[in-house]
């Protein structure tokens, strides 16, 4: 493999993911504001925030694990991004490492960042951080189950475990998997808000009780890295979902359209929902989403 090409395309992909993710988060703030009858910040406000954080004169550090926690997260996001197909038109520019990993590996790769975050938050000594982490892990046990059920159904039905393979299935048949496997799609879609941790699943940050939870001791360059990571990771999750269920995209315009449409689901749901308690969140995910997941598995088995 050509290292220099990977370096070039990888950087371009990363920057694309960063810009798109940041814009989406800005749009979310704008939409939230308009729904609540406020003017709201400009769409580019998040770029300003990141720049401000990176140029902060001082930052506070409680120890080595806190120092490396944001790196752990951003390394996870960028590595995951490299393994996800951006476009489905066979263009070699965005290939990166797409054909060198599969979904099972991605599932495990995507949680590495959370572990780093958990350890970093744990070292700060802030009790809110540790409480937030336990809540986040508990919630993860909740939403991973319907999400994995959906993926297992698709993987066994189409006898491939790669994202590229599932994408090929959709390109060749011309049907999106969300239409041919509706139950798996519903299960996965209901798990998405848990991954984004917007209301009603914002129990990890929980501004009112935990004072933003795990990130409460991170500031300056650390918080800047985390915001950067948040933007990239949002793009990763949306693109992965679009690739698996919505047929991918043949050019960047379609990609933006589809990912934005998908992104609106957790955002709009969050706007009209109060916060769940942790156990309510897990019970929610183990209720209807798992039911649809089981239907999806049965559909795949028949």
């Amino acid at each position: 493999m050509d290292i220099w090409k990977l370096l070039l395309t990888g950087s371009v992909t990363t920057v694309l993911a960063f810009v798109v993710g940041m814009l989406y988060m800005g749009l979310r703030r704008k939409i939230t504001a308009r729904v609540q009858n406020r003017v709201g910040p400009p769409i580019y406000q998040n770029f300003l925030d990141v720049m401000k954080l990176w140029s902060k004169k001082s930052s506070i550090n409680h120890g080595f694990m806190q120092h490396v926690a944001p790196l752990w997260m951003i390394a996870t996001s960028i590595t995951t991004l490299m393994f996800i197909p951006i476009l489905n038109n066979g263009s070699t520019f965005f290939t990166n490492l797409t054909f060198e990993g599969d979904l099972i590996m991605l599932l495990y790769l995507m949680v590495v960042g959370s572990l780093g975050m958990a350890l970093g938050a744990g070292q700060t000594g802030n009790p809110n951080s540790a409480i937030g982490v336990t809540r986040g892990l508990t919630q993860m046990v909740g939403f991973e189950i319907p999400w994995v059920m959906a993926l297992v159904a698709l993987m066994i039905q189409h006898r491939t475990t790669t994202v590229a393979g599932l994408l090929d299935v959709q390109v060749q048949s011309g049907t999106w998997l969300m239409l041919s496997s509706p139950f798996a799609f519903i299960a996965a879609l209901l798990a998405i808000p848990g991954m984004f941790r917007y209301s009603p699943f914002d129990i990890v940050g929980a501004p009112a009780e935990l004072a933003s939870g795990p990130i409460s001791e991170f500031g300056g360059k650390y918080l800047g890295t985390m915001m950067t990571n948040g933007a990239i990771f949002a793009f990763v999750k949306l693109t992965l979902f679009v690739d698996i269920f919505m047929g991918g995209a043949s050019n960047l315009g379609f990609l933006l359209l589809k990912t934005f449409a998908l992104y609106m689901f957790p955002v709009l749901w969050g706007l009209v929902s109060p916060r769940f308690r942790t156990e309510q969140a897990v019970r929610f995910f183990w209720g209807w989403p798992v039911f649809f997941g089981v239907l999806g598995l049965i559909q795949a088995a028949i």
Binding site: V68, T124, A130, T138, I156, K221
Partner: protein
Amino acid sequence: MSNIIIILAIFGWAILTYIAFRLNKTLGNIFVGLIAVALPVYYFTYVPEDYSFQVMGLTLQFGFTSFSSLFAILVVILGALTLLYSIPYMNKKDRLGWFYLNFLFSIGGMLGILMSKDFVSLFIFWEIMTWSSYLIVIFSGKKVNKVGVKYMVYSAIGAYAMLMAIVLINKWSGTTNISHFFETFADYSNGAKILSSLLLLTAFAVKSALMPLHVWAPNAYTNSPMSYTSLFSGALSKMGIYGMALVAIMLYTNTGMKFFGEALAWLGAITAVLATFWAVFQTDIRKLLAYSSIGQLGYIAVGLGIGTELGVMAALFLALLHGLFKGILFMAAGAIEYRTGKTDFSELRGLIWKMPVTFFSALVAIIALAGMPPLSGLISKWLIYEALLSSEHYFLIILIFLSSTAAFLYCFHFLYGVFLGQREDDIEDVKEAPALMLVPMVLMSFGLLALGTFPGLIFKHISSSMSYLGFNDVTWEMSVLTNEWGNKIYLTHLNTMFMVVFAVFFVIITLVARKKTRRVGTKDIANAGEPILAEDNYHFSQDFYKPFWRVISPVMKYRIETFYNSFANGIGEFFQFFRRVYTGNGQTYALYVVIFLTILFIVGATLI
């Protein structure tokens, strides 16, 4: 020369060590260090040959097969490292000669099991291993009744099951040769097949703590000294896996009795889920690790139960890997116990500042346990999922996924509860563990790191040992994994990518505003404007996963131990009835004699 000499040498050395400790402690420690070095050197340089002799009409045969030598590697390496670790760890304790006698006997017993080619010698060595481990479980002298008796009863159940199987097999086939049994198994009647294989499976399942025969394990793992528990959980329980693999593959998969294999896989999956849930709520680090061990062995049973090539490969890989990472974790728990004297989460915190090497070894082991890249745990998890996917086990894979996601909870609890959180003054005089305790942990961490990118180092041995189980031409590559559908992952690319991005950002984040980064203590935190006083500590250790408990408590009410206890109570009450008759009072017995004679007299009188 025969290879039985290794075992005799170990037993002989065990007795010499015992004598040495009676004479002088230092001399004894030297003896232990010598065998720890000699064991791997001897094993890896010596080419063993088969050996057999006749005794009382039975032929006893010894020799490693390609399958058992895979487990022997684990026993030898882990045995040597735990012996080294024991020297400083046990140094302050009494009766060391007795401890090392049993320690070496269990290593010898394990190697004997792996060398046995007939059931009788297998049984003898199995019992040597069980007895020596029992004597170490009760070595501390605490909870002998509660823990020791439980372990003994379950081991006895296993031993009787095995003995019965051996007697039956000898009766049916006239020989106790193991490979002869496997070859002729297909000719047995259905009843004989089911009975003999289930009896053997019971014996092995007890040792590997498969539910519902796991009840002894958490307490036995906790009660023995941690240096031995590393071996106990890492290698000794793998003897159960060794036997289980033979039963599952040779008897079930290869003879078309797939149903029993499936049942074993489901038992394994249930074990994995429930043991993981219990591990999440433990408040003692040793108990947490013990339950986690039971759960991990559940995964191995799943891989063996489904019996496909990838499944067996996953099971064997995880068996070796579990020896490494659980070895490290129990050693880390031992190091913490050695330096602080505490093992409860409510008493420990902030040790990362005092025991950094222990922390990083434990971190490596935890990442491997959780199955995250860039370490080798990912490979075992990946193999087992791919095996389940390609053999279309839709619901089994969900259970395994539930278990391994819930495992993140206790992984975090272990690292956070012991090493992180708010520092307190009571750890100020804690020191890093002695070098001899760190060396085994660090060595094994490097092993985990290397296997994370180059699993081929172990796949080489696994593929040759799988040919014994009937899987010929197992394909493997040094750092590329392939599933049955041809999907690949390239570990070198994944791991290099991760590490390079990590390193780049490490440089950036360290250099940006480097001079202005303030390093503060863990009590200098954002706390709604209220400073934390010196005497306060806000470390989070109580009710750690309370919300999760609220979710799953309906399931956790049903414990097999409750059933066993009520069964035991029922038996007890049944015998209480006899107790009323046999009161132990001489006068009562005299009365019985009088009553008996009277009845005899009356009956006799009426008859005449």
